[in-house]
Assembly symmetry: C2
Homo-oligomer: 874 residues x 2
C-alpha cells in the first residue's frame, strides 16, 4: 500500500475493504443483450470472515417481487452507527450484489424505490414522527421493521442500531422474507462478555487456535489487525465486552506502557460497541504498586486501586471493568489477610463505580489440596461454601462469575448450586467456548446443547418466579440489575480463530444464547450453518447433524453417566487418563474401586453437596431413583452391577457407551465427505483432517477407559469386545530391529500396556501376514509427541506403501492417551505370507514410538466425494 | 525430511510420494459393521499433477462385477518399466482406492483374483507363451488387452510398456470398461519432442508460466525437482524428447560445467523414456570453441563439432540431438560463409550420427529487412525459397522443423508450402503450445482445432498416397524414416505449468496429436477434461464447450479472414496493434489502405507465393472464388466492399466478427461460474480471474481493430457500433485534479485517442451522473503497465466503493492495447446528480493512467454459483 492508502486505512475504511476482498461476491450474472456486459468478480471466501461471509443469496426469497433498497439513510453520527451502515453496505453488496448509496438526509432518498434507514429511536422519530413506537426500546435493544418502501433499522441506543443491522443481515443471509418484517428484541442481560486467557508473551492458556491476537513479547502486539475482524464477529451476536488477558493475570499489564497498548485495542473494539476489560491480580498493589501489602481492607491499597483505575480510564474512557481470579489454584487473594472475596471485590468495585466499570469476581475458588481420604471432602462444594455466606455484601457493580457446573467444564456436570445460593448478588454464568475438556477443537463438540441443559435447569430457588439458571443470571429471578454471560473463548491468530472451522458454532452459539437463552441448540446451529456455508439443504442437513450429534458422541467415549471427562485432569486435559482423577488433592475424584464407582454427594451418606441445592432439586438428586442416569456417578457411588433405568448395568453401560460413541465418531468424516465441493476446499480439508483424527483418537479413549474399568471392576464386557482386538498386532510382539519394548504409563493408554521405542537412527518392526488373501485396511498406531517429528514408513511385501511424519503436535511429551494417534492405509492387498514392516526414524525427543498394527477387512466402495468425481454421485 | 529420507528420495520413490500426496484419494468409504472402520484420507488436488490427478472413479464402470487387480507382476528390469509399474500403482491407488502388491514372478500371483502384468513383448511371451502376438509390436508401440484374470500391459520396447501403462490409466480415469480390452497402438512418428525456450538466466522467451524449471543464474538450477513432474506429463501422452533451452541458444551452455547440469536433467527424464536435446548456436566453434571461424565446411569446425558431440555423449549417453536456429532473426548461420542450411545441418548431423542423435534444423529462416515498397516481396515465401532447392542434400539424421504456417504462429495461416516442397528430406511440424500470438495464456484459446486444420490439410503433393500435412511429417507420403512433431511449450515454475490451468489442454493435445494425428479436437479435449476435472457430465459440458469455442472466438476479435493476429508484431505480440504490421521489414504486412486490405499472394498479380503449393492446392487459393473466406486476406488483396460468400462485405465482416467475438468472450466467465464447486477452488478462481480479464481485453481488441479499419476504410459500421459507445465517459472530458490528458500511441488503443496521466502524488477525475436513477455496472478503463503498481479508487456520491491496484503485470510499459485493462463494479446504485470520482496514486513508472468510465444498466440476477449458495441452483 502506498503512504496515501495507509493514511486512509484506519477505522471503517479498513473494515470495508477487508470485507469486500474477503467474501465471495460471485454469482451475479449480468446479461444485457444491448449494453456491455461484464464478467464476474468472484473471490474466495476468507475463513476469517467466519459466519459473516456475506455470500450471495437468492434475493427473490428475501424481497419477493419488491425492490431491493438502493440507498442507506443514516440518521446519527455515532461511530457505532457508522459501523452499522458499513456492515449493511458490505452485507448488501456481498449477499445481493448491490452497491448501495449512503446518504445523510431525506433529500438523498429522492428516486429510491426502496431504502434502509438507520438510527436510534430518537433519531427515527425526529426524522419521521409517524414511526414513533409506543414503547421505548431499551439499552442495546432494537426494533426492525418494514414501513412502506423503507426498512427501519432502529436501536434503543447506537449499540442497538448495530445489533439491529446485524439482525437484518442475519435474516438476509438466511434468505428470510422481509415482506412483513416487524421484530423487537432486547438482550437478556447487560453482561455479555468474552474472557480471553491470553498471556503477555502471546501464548494463550487453554487456547487451541494459535497465538494471541492481542499480545506478543510481553506487550500488546504492534500489529493488532485481527482485532477488528474479531470485533465484527462478537458484535454480530451481541457481545458487548471482552476481557483481553488471562484470568491468571500478569500484574505488569497494569503498567502505563501496557495500558497504552490496551487502549489501542480498545479503540478497535469501540466502533463495534464492545468495551474492553482486563483480568487483574489482587496482589498488584504490592507486586507492581510498591506497597508492602495488598490487603483489601488497607486504606493504602484502596487508594492504590482508586488511582490505578483512574489511570486506566484516562487511557480507556469506556473501560468495562475487571475480572478477578483470587485464592484459586495458587493465585494470591484476600485469604492471605483473612479477608473475604467480597472484601477483595469491593475494594476494586468502589474504585470502578464512578467510571461505570464492573468487577466480575470468579466463583472458581477451591482448595486444590483436598484430602482424598476424607469421604466428606468435596471440591464441588467449594463455590457455594465460599460465597453463599457473602450474599448481599458485594457492591452493586460486582458480579460473581460462576462456571456453569461446580467442577470445571467437564463434559457433564449438574449446574452449580451457587446460582441459587446467591439471592442478593449479581451473577454471571461462565461458559467455556474453548474446548479445554471437550477435545480441544481436535474433536468436534458442539457445546450449545450442554449449555442449554445448564441454562434450562430449574433450580426451584423461588416459587413465585421462574428460577431456571437463565432466569437467575439474567437477573429476573432475584431482580438484579447486573449479570449475564461470560464465555471463555481464547481465539488466536489461526485463520479459523478457534482452529477448527466447525468450532466457531460454539462462539456463535455463546453469543446468541447470551442475547436470548431461550433459543434452541438446533435453531442456533442452523442459523450458523446457513450463514457460514449457505442455505443449501444438503449442507445444512450434514453440518447440523454432525454438530448436534457431537456432544453426546464425545460424552459417550470420554465419560458417561456424569463421571466427568476421564482425562488426565492434572495436565493437558486432552486424552484419556482416568487414574489421574484419583488419590490427589485436586478433588475430581470418581472413587472407582473394585465394587463400584461414583462420588457419593448425598446428604444422607455422602459429602452433603446435594444439600446445597434448593430442596426440590436436592430431592431429585438425593434419590437414586429420581436422579437422572446422566448424572448418576456425579451424585452417587453405585456398584458396577447397579442397574440403570434401562435395566443395563453401570459397567455394561460404560462399555457400550464408549464403543457406541467411538463408532459414531468414525461416521463423522464420511458424512462430511458427502458435502465436498459445497463448502470451500480449504475448510473442507481442514475439517476432514480433524474428523479423521477424532475417529482415531476416539478409539484410544474407548480402549483406555473400557480396559481401565475392566481391570478395576473385574467384570468382563458382556459383548466380548474389551480386551479382544481382532486384527491387532502388538509392536512388542513383532520382529524388532533397533526397537525395544517399554511399559507405557498410564498402562491403559497403550495396547497390551506396552509400546516400542527406537534408540537408534532408525528402527523397524515386522510381521508376516498369516490371514486370508484379500483387501485390508491397515492402521499403524503410534505416539506423536509435542517435541520432535519422527518419520515412519509402512512396507508391504518389500514395497513402501506409505510414509508419514508424526507432526500432529499433540500436547504432551510422553507415550500416553494424549499422544496416541494413528495412520491408516486403506484398501491394501495382502496375501498370506506377505511381510508388513514399519520403519521409524526418531527425531528430537521423540523416539518413533509404535504401539500396534491393526489389519481389518476393507470394504472398499467409491463414494466419489472428491472434486473430480462425478457430480451425479454427490 | 530427515537425512535418511533424503537419501531415499531420488528417483521413483520421490515420484510415488509426490503423487500420493498430491491427489485426492478420497471418496473411499469403508464400512464394515463388525470390524473397525477408518476415516478417509482425502487430500487436495495438486495443480502440478495437471491431467494426471488420479482422482477417484466409479470402479463399477471400469471393472463391472469383475475383480479389481490386486497385484502387479513386472516382468522386466528396465527403469522405464519400473516407472510404468510405479504409475500403475499410483493410479490404481488414487482412482480405485486400492494399494496393490508388486511382485516379480508368477509365484507372487497366487491367490490373486485379478492382476496386471507389465513387460515388453519378449518378456510377455517368455512368461506365458500363449500370449504371443502374431505381429511384432514396433518401437514405442504397445498392445493392451485382457487375458482372463490378467490385464496385459505389453510394449514393443520398455518405452512402449510405459505408454501402455498410461493408456490403461487413461481408460480407467475416463471410466471406460476394461471388459473386452484389446488395443494395439503405435506412435505416428518417431520425433515427438517439445522445445522449451528457456534461457540460462532462468527467463523463458515467450514463456507465460513463470521462470524456468531448468535454469537459473546462468546455469542448471540446483533444485530441478519440477523436472520429474514434467516428465510424467510428457510421457503420459507419448512425448519422447525435450529440448531444454531456447532456440536462440546461448553457446556457453555447451561448456563442461553446464553439460554436467544438463546431464542431471537428463537423468530425471530418462526414467520416463524421454531423451534430452539442446538448441545450439552455429557460431559455437568460434564463440566458445576458440576457433577463428564457424564455417560449416571448414574441417576444423567439423572436428570441433565431433569432439563437442562426443563430450556431450559422455555426460548424456542417450542425448537426443540438437535444434538449430540459424540465419534467422539475427542468429549467426552458414549464410555468413555463403553456405547453405544443409551445410550447417550436415556438419553437426555427421557428428551426431554415430551416437544416434538428430539435428532438427528450423525452417524458420527469413529476411527481416524486407522492402515494404516491393509488392513482390513476401516473408511467407522464405521457408520454401530457402529450403526446397536443398531437398535431398540433408543427412538422414537431419529433420527440417517447419512451423505449421509460413509466417509465425498467427491465429490463422495456411500450411507452409515447404511441407510439400521437400520430398527427400525428413520433416517435423513445429506447433506452438505456448500462446505467443494467441493470448499468452491470459486468453483462453484451445489450439488443437487450429493444429488439426493444418494437419488435415491436403497438400495434393502426390496422387498415389495420402499427402495431408500429417501424412508428410509422419513420413508416410514420401517414405521418410525420421520426422514428426515438435511442440514449443515453455512451461515454467507456475503450479499450473503454463500459467492458465485450461491451457494445459494444449500441451495434452499436442502430445496426443503427435501420437495420433487422426484424433479429433473434440475427443482430445474430452479426454483431457475427464482426466483433469472428472467425468461429471456438467463439468465436461462446460469445460469442453469453452475450450472448443475459444479458438474461433479469439480469431474473431483479434484478426479474421486470414489477416493474421493484428497485434503489435514487433514487440510483445499480446494486445492489438495493427499498424505495427505495416511499413517495416518484418513482412507481416496486411497492406490495408483506403480501398482495401490483404496481401496479394497470387501468381497472377501478387507475390507468387501461392505458386509454391502443388498445383491443385495452388489453384484453390489463387481463385478468389475458391479461396476460403477464412484465408481470404492472407491470399488476396480485396476492396473493403468485396462481398464474401455470405454476401456480407469484408469491412462489415471485420466489424461484426470483432463484436461477436468480444461478446462471446464475455460469456466465458459466467459459463465457467456454473461449475463452481465441481472443480478445485484454487483452479476455479485462477481460471475465473483470467476469463474476466479476457472479457475486458477482448473489448480493447474489438474497439482498437474496428476503429482502425473504420479510419482506414472510411466506411462506417452498418450497425452503428464502431465509434459509438453508449455510457462511456472519457477521462479527458472529466473534471480533473492533477491528471493531464495525453495522446496515446497507437491512437486506436485508447478511447477517444487520449488518456489522462497523473504527475502528482495523487490525482482525480470526476463526473456527475446525469442519467436515470437505477442500478448500473461501472467499468473503469485504465492502463496497467509492467513496472509500477498504481492504486486506484472509485467513489460514488462521496463514498469509496472500490479500491484496487494495477497489478496484472501486463507485458509493456506504455499506454496501449497491451496494457489497457479495466476494473468493473457491478450493481451500483446511481441517482441523477451523484458524483463519480476516480482517484489514482502513481507508483514507479506507472502514472495511474486512466482512459474512461463506462456506465451501463445492470441486470442483476443471482446465479448463485458460489460455494455457499444453494446446491440446488447448480
Amino acid at each position: 500500500m502506498s503512504a496515501g492508502f495507509e493514511n486512509r486505512s484506519a477505522g471503517a475504511i479498513w473494515l470495508r475493504w477487508a470485507v469486500i476482498f474477503s467474501v465471495v461476491v460471485s454469482g451475479i450474472a449480468v446479461r444485457d443483450g444491448k449494453a456491455a456486459v461484464y464478467g464476474a468478480v468472484a473471490r474466495p471466501v476468507d475463513p476469517q470472515a467466519a459466519w459473516l461471509t456475506y455470500a450471495p443469496v437468492n434475493e427473490k426469497k428475501v424481497f419477493g417481487a419488491g425492490a431491493v433498497p438502493d440507498t442507506i439513510l443514516r440518521l446519527g453520527d455515532a461511530d457505532v452507527e457508522k459501523t452499522a451502515e458499513e456492515e449493511l453496505e458490505s452485507g448488501v453488496r456481498g449477499m445481493l450484489g448491490r452497491v448501495v448509496r449512503e446518504v445523510r438526509s431525506a433529500d438523498g432518498l429522492k428516486g429510491s424505490k426502496a431504502f434502509v434507514v438507520v438510527g436510534t429511536q430518537g433519531e427515527v422519530e425526529a426524522w419521521r414522527p409517524g414511526l414513533k413506537s409506543t414503547k421505548a426500546i431499551g439499552a442495546d435493544g432494537f426494533r426492525l421493521r418494514r414501513d412502506g418502501n423503507a426498512i427501519v433499522v432502529e436501536g434503543g441506543d447506537s449499540r442497538g442500531v448495530l445489533y439491529c443491522a446485524f439482525a437484518l443481515l442475519r435474516l438476509i443471509a438466511q434468505e428470510r422474507s422481509l415482506a412483513a418484517l416487524d421484530v423487537s428484541e432486547a438482550p437478556s442481560a447487560p453482561v455479555r462478555w468474552t474472557n480471553e486467557w491470553d498471556n503477555p508473551d502471546g501464548s494463550i492458556e487453554r487456547g487451541y487456535g494459535g497465538r494471541s491476537i492481542f499480545f506478543d513479547e510481553q506487550a500488546v502486539r504492534a500489529d493488532i489487525s485481527r482485532v477488528t475482524g474479531y470485533a465484527r464477529l462478537l458484535a454480530s451476536v451481541g457481545i458487548n465486552g471482552v476481557t483481553i488477558n488471562n484470568v491468571n493475570a500478569d500484574p505488569k499489564l497494569l503498567n502505563e506502557s501496557n495500558l497504552k497498548g490496551v487502549a489501542r485495542i480498545a479503540d478497535e473494539f469501540r466502533a463495534y460497541g464492545i468495551r474492553v476489560s482486563m483480568s487483574i491480580d489482587m496482589s498488584s498493589p504490592q507486586a507492581v504498586g510498591g506497597l508492602t501489602t495488598f490487603d483489601p481492607l488497607d486504606p493504602q491499597v484502596a487508594e492504590w486501586w482508586k488511582a490505578k483505575v483512574e489511570e486506566i480510564y484516562r487511557f480507556i474512557p469506556d473501560f468495562g471493568g475487571v475480572v478477578i481470579k483470587a485464592d484459586s489454584e495458587g493465585k494470591p487473594g484476600p485469604m492471605k489477610y483473612g479477608r473475604s472475596p467480597a472484601d477483595a471485590a469491593n475494594v476494586v468495585a468502589r474504585a470502578l463505580k464512578a467510571h461505570g466499570g464492573l468487577v466480575l469476581y470468579r466463583g472458581f475458588v477451591y482448595n486444590n489440596h483436598l484430602d482424598w481420604n476424607d469421604l466428606k471432602a468435596d471440591r464441588a462444594r467449594a463455590g457455594f461454601d465460599n460465597f453463599h455466606t457473602l450474599d448481599g455484601t458485594f457492591e452493586d457493580n460486582v458480579v460473581v462469575q460462576i462456571k456453569h457446573g461446580p467442577i470445571d467444564f467437564q463434559i457433564r456436570e449438574p449446574v452449580s448450586p451457587l446460582f441459587s445460593g446467591l439471592k442478593k448478588t449479581n451473577e454471571a454464568i461462565e461458559l467455556q467456548v474453548t474446548q479445554e475438556y471437550t477435545g480441544q477443537q481436535r474433536h468436534l463438540v458442539y457445546l450449545v446443547p450442554m449449555w442449554k441443559d445448564a441454562l434450562d435447569t430449574n433450580t426451584y430457588a423461588v416459587t413465585d418466579k421462574p428460577s431456571r439458571v437463565q432466569d437467575i443470571v439474567t437477573g429476573k429471578t432475584f431482580g438484579r440489575a447486573e449479570g449475564g454471560f461470560v464465555g471463555v473463548t481464547n481465539v488466536g491468530l489461526d485463520d479459523y480463530w478457534l482452529g477448527n472451522p466447525l468450532s466457531m458454532a460454539n462462539l456463535y452459539g455463546f453469543g446468541r444464547l447470551a442475547w436470548n437463552p431461550s433459543l434452541s441448540a438446533d435453531a442456533i446451529v442452523d442459523e450458523w450453518t446457513r450463514q457460514t456455508f449457505g442455505n443449501s439443504e444438503k449442507v445444512r442437513a450434514v453440518v447440523n447433524d454432525l454438530q448436534i450429534r457431537s456432544y453426546h458422541v464425545y460424552e459417550s467415549y470420554t465419560g458417561s453417566l456424569g463421571v466427568g471427562t476421564l482425562t488426565d485432569i492434572i495436565g493437558v486435559h486432552f486424552g484419556p487418563g482416568p487414574e489421574s482423577a484419583e488419590r490427589n488433592g485436586w478433588g475430581q475424584w470418581i472413587r472407582a474401586d473394585h465394587e463400584g464407582v461414583g462420588m457419593d454427594r448425598t446428604v444422607a451418606t455422602g459429602t452433603g453437596y446435594i444439600g446445597q441445592y434448593p430442596p426440590e432439586l436436592a430431592a431429585k438428586y438425593e434419590s437414586l431413583k429420581a436422579c437422572p442416569d446422566e448424572l448418576l456417578l456425579f451424585m452417587h457411588h453405585v456398584p458396577y452391577k447397579y442397574r440403570l433405568k434401562s435395566g443395563k448395568t453401570v459397567i455394561q453401560y460404560i462399555y457400550d457407551s464408549h464403543y457406541e460413541g467411538a463408532a459414531e465418531a468414525v461416521e463423522f468424516a464420511p458424512e462430511w465427505e458427502t458435502i465436498a465441493g459445497l463448502v470451500p476446499d480449504r475448510t473442507y480439508f481442514e475439517v476432514l483432517r480433524r474428523l479423521e483424527f477424532q475417529a482415531g483418537h476416539a478409539e484410544v479413549w474407548r480402549d483406555s477407559i473400557t480396559q481401565w474399568f475392566w481391570k478395576m471392576s473385574g467384570i468382563a464386557d458382556a459383548k466380548g469386545r474389551v480386551g479382544n482386538y481382532p486384527g491387532r498386532f502388538e509392536a512388542e510382539a513383532m520382529r524388532l530391529e533397533g526397537y525395544a519394548p517399554v511399559d507405557v504409563t498410564p498402562w491403559e493408554s497403550a495396547s497390551g500396556r506396552k509400546a516400542v521405542v527406537c534408540g537408534a537412527e532408525k528402527c523397524s518392526a515386522e510381521m508376516t501376514w498369516d490371514g486370508a488373501d484379500g483387501w485390508y485396511d491397515v492402521a499403524v498406531r503410534y505416539f506423536d509427541e509435542m517435541h520432535g517429528e519422527s518419520k515412519y514408513s509402512l512396507e508391504v511385501a518389500g514395497r513402501e506403501i506409505e510414509q508419514w511424519k508424526a507432526d500432529w503436535n499433540l500436547p504432551n511429551d510422553r507415550l500416553n492417551g494424549h499422544t496416541s494417534t494413528r495412520e491408516v492405509v486403506r484398501g491394501v492387498a495382502l496375501h498370506k505370507g506377505d511381510v508388513l514392516k514399519v520403519t521409524g526414524w526418531p527425531n528430537g525427543m521423540e523416539k518413533a514410538p509404535l504401539d500396534y498394527l491393526e489389519i481389518v477387512p476393507a470394504v472398499v466402495t467409491h463414494a466419489s466425494t472428491s472434486k473430480t468425481a462425478p457430480a451425479a454421485v454427490r
